[in-house]
């Protein structure tokens, strides 16, 4: 039965925790608030420590809160982060994504900084500033930085935030034993998609969309144990999905993965979503890390990393790369399908569209096709935003479950 305009606008017949107003994916004001209340308050992955292995190595990072950062390993091998902004005239200090710099020197007027963020040279300092301003007044803005949970470099622009350990809590407990050895990034690429960051995180937070993936249907959904995988929600909006044994050889041209992963059962698969836009995805032989950098309510950069073990032999590494590429590389079977999915959502739910609700209503005892992972995310989103995801403008006068 089709719906007329009035019926289309009707509240879904679910509890209010089980649907959201689709304007949270398109509204410019909500996006600005998300930058302030979420991205500039939460711990965010900037890069992996293997990307800056040596003293003075740096990596630039487009922080989703809006300010570009420099992540740099000092002479003391400690990793620190700073705004990538010269405190003089606001120019970008480092332009390249990576490099090695004992001194960070602004190309504009040659002010120079060390890897601890101290200003070490102001050209013609005395002549111009006399005793009114000096190097000690010109340090870089440092951003809290911690390395952890697989060697990722986490940053937090909020000086008053809790520690990374407190932020993660027990959410990554299932993966911690799998990340005791040193990891190394072997794959990196970005995609820009015209969609909202939450929709990508949703895709990583539900497996009901396995119907979209031929590979996942034959290697997972049709196999024993698939419907036993369970979602678990954790404080701060994180969620995990338990493992099963994937039957890779059920897909023609694929075979059982010969290279495994420490402390993960053969064929195992653990996925953990970290609020607000990061996903650990350990699939038997490869750890994939997605990090979201929203550029606007309807524009998103997703960074994709593939990681193996630092101690890999060349043969093991090649196998991990092959496994990664089959489904997750830029030409992989699943990644294009997932991106096509969120691209389609972005297209359908544009800001002029009459889309009203997005339903997260499946309840299957928190097993794999339950949409509880998304509901858990939006509960945290609502708490941090001070807005109800189902009624972000307080206009629906919903007093109880519809």
């Amino acid at each position: 039965m089709t719906k007329n305009a009035n019926q289309w606008q009707q509240l879904p017949k679910f509890p209010t925790s089980h649907f959201v107003d689709s304007r949270i994916y398109t509204d410019e004001q909500i996006f600005h608030e998300e930058r302030e209340k979420i991205f500039n308050k939460c711990w965010i992955i900037a890069c992996h420590e293997s990307e800056i292995p040596n003293a003075y190595d740096y990596r630039t990072f487009r922080h989703p809160g809006g300010t570009n950062l420099i992540v740099v390993r000092g002479e003391d091998m400690k990793v620190r982060s700073f705004y990538n902004i010269c405190p003089h005239r606001g120019n970008t200090l480092l332009y390249d994504p990576v490099g090695n710099a004992k001194r960070i020197t602004c190309i504009f007027h040659a002010w120079s900084f060390d890897t601890k963020g101290n200003c070490v040279d102001i050209t013609r300092e005395k002549e111009g500033f006399q005793n009114r301003f000096c190097k000690a007044d010109a340090g870089l803005r440092e951003v809290r930085t911690e390395i952890g949970f697989g060697g990722f470099v986490w940053v937090n622009t909020d000086d008053n935030a809790c520690t990374l350990k407190e932020y993660i809590g027990s959410a990554l407990d299932m993966l911690v034993p799998c990340m005791e050895e040193e990891l190394e990034v072997f794959h990196y690429h970005k995609a820009i998609v015209n969609t909202n960051y939450k929709l990508w995180h949703d895709t990583n937070s539900e497996f009901y969309h396995d119907y979209m993936h031929y590979f996942n249907r034959v290697t997972g959904m049709l196999q024993p144990g698939y419907f036993d995988r369970k979602y678990v929600g954790y404080p701060n909006g994180h969620a995990s999905v338990g493992s099963m044994t994937i039957k890779y050889d059920a897909y023609e041209g694929s075979k059982e993965r010969g290279v495994g992963w420490p402390n993960l059962s053969p064929g195992g698969w653990i996925l953990i979503d970290i609020f607000p836009g990061m996903t650990y995805n350990l699939r038997t032989s490869v750890l994939r890390m997605d990090t979201s950098i929203p550029l606007g309510p309807d524009k998103l950069i997703i960074e994709f990393r593939g990681l193996g073990l630092k101690r890999d032999t060349p043969q093991e590494r090649m196998q991990r790369i092959f496994d990664h590429n089959t489904i997750w590389g830029p030409f992989g079977r699943n990644l294009h399908e997932d991106l096509l999915g969120v691209h389609g959502q972005g297209r359908a739910m544009n800001r002029l569209s009459d889309q009203t609700w997005v339903i997260h209503g499946r309840e299957e005892n928190m097993t794999i096709h339950d949409e509880g992972g998304m509901r858990h995310f939006y509960a945290e989103w609502s708490r941090r935003m001070g807005r109800k995801a189902y009624d972000p403008y307080g206009e629906k006068l919903i007093s109880a479950a519809a």
Binding site: S50, E51, R59, D96, P97, V98, V185, F186, H187, Y188, H189, K190, A191, I192, V193, M212, H213, Y214, F215, Y251, E252, G253, R305, I321, F322, N325, G329, P330, F331, R333, L335, H336, E337, L339, L340, V342, H343
Partner: protein, 152 residues
């Protein structure tokens, strides 16, 4: 060595893939054919392999793709052969071509530049009937929006 025959084979490979004539494409390839897509990531300071298949692997890939959900916008591959180096003793030629890939949206037909890179090809000369033995697609472009399934 017949340079024209080699150049035509490079161009033929583009046309066949554009037409999704995968059988025709593989008919241009030697039994030992190997296809690889590579790119360099300055972000992680590493060369990357994004796809790597032998002839059977490519055959399987082409067989499987219709079972997947894909963007159906057609691609147009444009190659320009820059350099042909012949090794008569080995009966092979190494060929470098510039590659541009354009994507034309199904809805409305707008065309965009999708990727640039190079074909680094090795041909078996095969007594005047050259066959493609190895193709490395060395990409400069590393961002493809929501992506694509069919290789270049």
């Amino acid at each position: 060595m017949d340079r024209v025959a080699i150049e035509e084979l490079v161009y033929q490979s583009c046309l066949l893939l554009d037409d999704k004539d995968f059988k025709g494409y593989l008919d241009l390839c030697a039994p030992e054919f190997r296809y690889t897509i590579t790119a360099h990531s300055p972000e992680i300071r590493k060369d990357m392999i994004w796809l790597d298949h032998d002839r059977n692997g490519m055959q399987t890939l082409f067989t499987q793709l219709p079972r997947h959900n894909s963007d159906h916008s057609p691609l147009t591959r444009h190659a320009t052969v820059y350099k042909v180096q012949c090794d008569e003793a080995q009966q092979q030629a190494n060929v470098v071509s510039a590659l541009q890939v354009f994507k034309t949206n199904l809805d409305g037909g707008a065309t965009e530049l999708f990727a640039v890179g190079r074909y680094l090809d090795t041909f078996k000369l095969n007594g005047g009937k050259p066959l493609l033995a190895k193709r490395v697609v060395k990409l400069d472009t590393r961002m493809f929006g929501f992506g694509y399934h069919i290789p270049f």
